[in-house]
């Protein structure tokens, strides 16, 4: 359905009723101008003129019944008027019913909402993201974007999910369209080529649709950041062919994390702490053990897990509904719920168990049975549906793998803090001891709850004051952004994790590092520290105080008196 075609649909559907209406009016008026009238004395008079006839038919047809009759009708006129009344009422009813039916017509409503959506997107005058797919994952991303004050445009194939979004209490209104995200016209209507479009997220649960999004972005808007959810490696390769390197595979992501937790527990904890929901207290769980692991369900997730676990040198037993040709490890046929199947897989001697089927209740029952057989098991549960979160948490497994959550976190991190994955990668290279020391230090400084992680870019938009002082030749150091604007001797509860300048990344930059325009800095700290830092970065006077310890005066004063002197001081 072409957006904006609502008007044409109305015109087209109204053809028949309108022609009928004109015809009935014409016959009625014509008759009235032909039938003779009668005067008070009963003598025949000339028929009505066209004006009078039109006037009479108009108030009769609309059932207004104005009743202003100059003189009584003749018998002939009365007969004709009776016919007019019935004919016109029927035709009007027909026309009105046609319009009403049109408004409840699905195709028409879609045309109407499509046109409205397109206009709203065109009118957006601030940066926004195009979000394709608003299910559990997309809904989380949308809510988080809204909390951060970023605008988004939503596209989903399911009307019900969009209706649910409307009920959510969002700060800004999100234009939403019900349509297939792999269709060119829908993506264009959603603002793919809009000048304020800052990125597109393909988070639908259909790999093919996400692939189509990658193709559209690459061909219609090259250079636009694209973040895609993908569950099959073959599709991921095809996405890469379109230049989309930002793909998120929830299964591979989690399998890598599990492997990380096995071989570098401190790095895993650092990762967990930095990417969690701010304010959450992470449960103190034990580290996943080395040894024998049982994997229930050998699907996409199972494959990714087995590959990573084998790389870690674990002994693996597989349980799957279908007989497996799996050389090198034990394979048992069954769902994993049956105690004898679990026993055959060696649950008594196992160290860890992963319930990785795509059915939540199966996973839960596997965990319950396995825990009874071996209370010391390290249990990892795959949770497919968000609505079962309480159920899964009540079982207290050591790790929960929720695809929606993993994708949402990864997508948001790539959008808002692209330096965080870079930092975590660098941390992996530095090893577990380094991560352990850093985590201990950060927790001491910032508290053990999950902190806020944010990225500041030194540009005229986000750091006006920094840019203007740099332009005047002052040395603005990183430490100015790490101290309290109300008392510069106090440190803010935040730390710089990484600094990117000209594509070169520095991990844990020194506080006396001098900033230059175009720098990207990754911070970790409290929400309050972030707000104070934003103030310093944007307000010239505050930044000046942080740098020199003296309050700077207003623009007028600065221009006429002290400007050169201050700049001179700062240069020294």
């Amino acid at each position: 359905m072409h957006p904006g075609s609502a008007f044409f649909i109305i015109l087209r559907r109204m053809r028949a009723p309108l022609i009928l209406l004109i015809a009935v009016y014409a016959v009625s008026i014509l008759g009235m101008t032909l039938i003779p009238g009668v005067d008070a004395q009963g003598r025949p008079t000339a028929p009505m003129s066209f004006l009078h006839a039109f006037y009479f038919v108009s108030y009769t047809a609309t059932t207004i019944g104005f009743g202003e009759i100059p003189q009584a009708f003749s018998e002939g006129q009365r007969m004709w008027a009776t016919a007019i009344i019935y004919a016109t009422v029927i035709v009007w009813t027909y026309a009105i019913l046609t319009i009403l039916a049109l408004f409840s017509d699905r195709a028409f409503q879609q045309a109407l909402s499509g046109g409205r959506f397109k206009r709203r997107v065109e009118r957006l005058s601030e940066p926004f993201y195009v979000l394709c797919g608003c299910g559990e994952t997309g809904g989380r991303v949308l809510a988080a974007l809204d909390r951060m004050g970023a605008r988004a445009v939503a596209l989903d194939i399911d009307e019900n999910r969009l209706a649910e979004l409307e009920l959510e209490d969002f700060r800004s209104e999100t234009p939403a369209l019900c349509g297939d995200a792999s269709q060119t016209q829908n993506l264009l209507a959603a603002g793919l080529q809009h000048r304020f479009c800052r990125g597109i997220l393909g988070l639908t649960n259909d790999d093919q649709a996400n692939l189509a999004i990658a193709a559209h972005a690459r061909l219609l808007r090259p250079q636009l950041p694209v973040i895609l959810r993908v569950e099959h490696d073959a599709i991921a390769q095809r996405m890469a062919a379109f230049g989309a390197t930002q793909t998120i595979n929830p299964f591979a992501t989690f399998a890598r994390l599990l492997a990380l937790a096995i071989h570098a527990p401190a790095l895993y904890r650092l990762y967990d702490w930095l990417t969690g929901t701010p304010g959450a207290i992470l449960a103190a769980t034990r580290d996943p053990p080395r040894g024998r692991w049982i994997v229930c369900g050998y699907g996409r997730f199972g494959h990714a897990l087995v590959a990573e676990l084998l790389r870690e040198g674990m002994e693996i037993a597989l349980i799957d509904q279908h007989p497996l040709e799996a050389p090198g490890f034990t394979a048992v046929v069954g769902s994993g719920v049956e105690p004898d199947v679990l026993a055959a897989a060696g649950v008594k001697q196992a160290d860890g168990l992963i319930a990785a089927t795509d059915d939540d209740l199966t996973n839960l029952s596997i965990a319950v049975v396995a825990r009874e057989l071996n209370p010391g098991l390290f249990i990892v549960l795959r949770q497919n549906q968000q609505s079962r979160a309480e159920l899964f948490a009540a079982l207290q497994p050591e790790m929960i793998m929720a695809p929606a959550e993993i994708i949402a976190h990864a997508a948001l991190a790539r959008l808002t803090t692209p330096l965080l994955p870079v930092f975590l990668h660098a941390a992996e290279e530095r090893g577990d001891d380094w991560a352990w020391a850093l985590l201990a230090r950060l927790r001491l400084e910032l508290g053990s709850a999950v902190p806020h992680v944010w990225q500041l870019s030194i540009d005229a938009n986000a750091a006006t004051a920094v840019v203007s002082l740099i332009a005047e030749g002052c040395d603005v150091t990183l430490s100015a952004l790490l101290h309290d604007p109300s008392d510069r001797s106090e440190r803010l509860a935040c730390t710089a994790l990484a600094l990117r300048r000209d594509e070169v990344d520095a991990v844990l930059p020194e506080a006396n590092a001098t900033l230059s325009v175009g720098d990207q800095i990754l911070f970790v700290g409290s929400a309050a520290a972030r707000a104070k830092q934003e103030l310093a970065a944007r307000n010239r006077n505050v930044l000046h105080y942080l740098l020199t310890g003296r309050e700077e005066t207003g623009w007028l004063w600065r221009t006429f008196t002290a400007s050169k002197e201050t700049v001179q001081q700062l240069r020294e």
């Binding site: 087209r12 559907r13 053809r15 022609i19 004109i22 015809a23 008026i29 066209f50 004006l51």
Partner: protein, 127 residues
């Protein structure tokens, strides 16, 4: 043969011929321009207009535009007529007749344009 095309062509040609029938004759002689002819021209023009609704092509748009012009001019002619006869009471003097007929002449021009488009479209679509 497409019945829809027959109806469409019929009403466009009929609108033009009725319009012409009313217009033809000395411009200031009321006895040469009958009110029923004007009435028929208006009704057929309105129906032709509605038939042109909902076509999104360029030609469809021009078709609709010419029809709207013709409707406007014919309704203006009828209004002048009704005003002269019923409101001011001067009746169909040569001056009033001339203005009514010249308004319908404008509508005729619009109808001729409509006819020309119809013919051009038909020639282009010839298969």
């Amino acid at each position: 043969m497409n019945f829809e095309k027959v109806v469409f062509g019929f009403f466009i040609v009929f609108a033009a011929t009725l319009n012409f029938g009313f217009f033809v004759g000395d411009i200031d002689r009321p006895e040469l321009h009958h009110v029923y002819e004007l009435f028929a021209a208006i009704i057929v023009n309105l129906i032709a207009t509605v038939l042109k609704f909902g076509d999104r092509t360029q030609i469809g748009a021009i078709h609709l535009a010419t029809s709207l012009v013709a409707d406007l001019q014919l309704i203006a002619a009828a209004s002048v007529w009704a005003f002269a006869v019923h409101v001011t009471g001067e009746g169909m003097t040569p001056a009033v007749t001339a203005s009514v007929v010249s308004l319908s002449g404008g509508a005729l021009l619009a109808n001729i344009v409509s006819l020309a488009i119809l013919i051009a479209e038909t020639v282009m679509m010839r298969r």
